[in-house]
């Protein structure tokens, strides 16, 4: 009997991979090894609607489909290393798993602040279910919440914490929240909308020190001020979960470099035929935009890359892989939906609606549209999506 397909990482990417292998006709064994204690669950609600209510596995779990009932799911098991030459992975218990094909779906983990007094209690991140459960307990009315980082997750947590009656301050280095993806004008408008909801911004500042005896009760900033803090949320980006791949001559500069077919590439340029990378870690070229290898850390990518990798593995892939990146974010009543890679733009302009209400922005590189993002106005945003098909 041939070895199973081994998928490392039991989140959305791992789940969708197992489903797609079955859908495209693979009937052999599948093993999914993940270090979290839970069956695959959905992360976006952990900073949004579910964080505003009761956080539980039930509230975010993906439905288990019949097609994957015979998959060997190994939860709570960390993979320590892999030897691609010998086609095996080794888990934390020392068990060795030979594979016929390996799927890398280990995603990211939260980056944390490195500051003095880091051992104080009251520090939170927002990546896993356990993170969200711990944070939810602290988001009580009147709690003074300081969020470090003004990206999507920081801003979503700010909106949710305001909804729950907390005092919210965002501390971040940039000029406006979410500025890099959204562009100055829309980012400034989103800042205004947050301020109208009572959020305080301390932009162009950084945390230098934590203050407190057992738990954090203040955050010292590089402008010399200290702000009171009961709950510190660190939303400053992420690290790649790729340590277990080291020693295999892969290009791990950021994510894992792959071909357009999502096969891992050696630093010599040679391709591993039976090693696929999906989800947040895949750094692949997308001919919609150019030949550059890029990772796209949006929710639609695990599903798209899993489907493609399964098609390639089963011999069902056709043409180039050209997934349309797509993301959404919900902050108060602002529901943003975007297509494309906004951060590639050298020009951003309002193309429909009004900045103070529902509106649509276009993102252009050398005059060509590379992205579109709207607050509301779905049919307009979707019309522009056709530019990327």
């Amino acid at each position: 009997m041939s070895h199973p397909v081994v998928i490392v990482g039991a989140s959305m990417g791992g789940l969708r991979m197992a489903e797609a292998l079955r859908r495209f006709g693979y009937t052999g064994a599948i093993t999914v090894i993940g270090d979290e204690p839970y069956a695959p669950y959905n992360r976006p609600p952990l900073s949004k609607e579910v964080l505003a209510e009761t956080v539980s596995h039930e509230a975010v779990a993906f439905e288990q489909r019949d097609s994957t009932a015979d998959v060997n799911w190994m939860f709570g098991t960390r993979v320590q290393a892999t030897d691609l030459e010998h086609a095996v992975v080794t888990d934390v218990n020392g068990d060795v798993h030979p594979y016929s094909a390996l799927v890398v779906a280990t995603g990211l983990r939260s980056k944390r602040l490195t500051v003095p007094n880091g051992e104080l209690r009251g520090r939170h991140a927002v990546r896993t279910l356990d993170d969200a459960i711990a944070l939810r307990r602290e988001l009580v009315p009147g709690a003074r919440v300081v969020i470090v980082g003004a990206g999507f997750i920081g801003c979503e947590v700010a909106a949710t914490a305001r909804k729950l009656g907390c005092d919210v301050t965002i501390v971040a280095p940039g000029t406006h929240p979410m500025q890099r993806p959204l562009g100055t004008e829309l980012a400034a408008e989103m800042q205004r909308r947050h301020e109208a909801q009572g959020v305080t911004f301390r932009m162009k500042t950084a945390v230098t020190d934590l203050v407190g005896t057992l738990a954090v009760d203040g955050v010292a900033l590089d402008d010399g001020t200290t702000i009171p803090c009961d709950v510190l949320v660190e939303a400053i980006g992420s690290h790649d979960n790729t340590e277990w791949l080291e020693g295999n001559d892969l290009d791990l500069a950021t994510g894992v470099r792959t071909t357009n077919d999502l096969r891992a590439v050696k630093s010599t340029g040679e391709v591993w035929d039976n090693v696929f990378v999906i989800g947040d870690l895949a750094r692949f070229p997308n001919p919609i935009f150019d030949n550059e290898c890029r990772r796209i850390e949006h929710w639609n990518i695990p599903t798209e890359t899993a489907k493609r990798a399964a098609q390639v593995f089963t011999g069902n892939a056709q043409g180039d892989f050209r997934p349309i990146p797509s993301f959404w974010t919900d902050q108060y009543d602002n529901h943003l939906l975007a297509y494309g890679v906004l951060s590639l733009a050298d020009e951003v302009k309002l193309i429909d609606g009004e900045i103070s209400g529902d509106c649509v922005f276009g993102y252009y590189r050398d005059g060509d549209m590379v992205g579109v993002c709207g607050i509301g106005m779905r049919s307009v945003v979707q019309r522009y999506r056709a530019n990327f098909v």
């Binding site: 976006p44 609607e49 639609n300 797509s326 529901h335 939906l337 106005m377 779905r378 049919s379 999506r385």
Partner: protein, 63 residues
């Protein structure tokens, strides 16, 4: 036949489902989701694809 349910308390009318199963889902003139409650079995895989892309995980096939 399959029966389709969308939890309208969850749905934010993102319309991602429309691209996967256009014969079942569409956005109306007010940008609100409309869908057909039943569809032919041949639509199952398209509706499953719609389930996969729905940001709010609002769609289910009622067995």
């Amino acid at each position: 036949m399959i029966t389709i349910d969308v939890d309208m308390n969850k749905c934010q009318h993102y319309g991602q489902c429309v691209f996967e199963a256009p014969s079942v889902f569409k956005l109306n003139n007010d940008d609100k989701l409309e869908f057909t409650a039943t569809a032919d079995d041949s639509e199952r895989s398209n509706v499953e694809a719609a389930i996969d892309v729905c940001p709010m995980q609002a769609i289910t096939i009622v067995e």
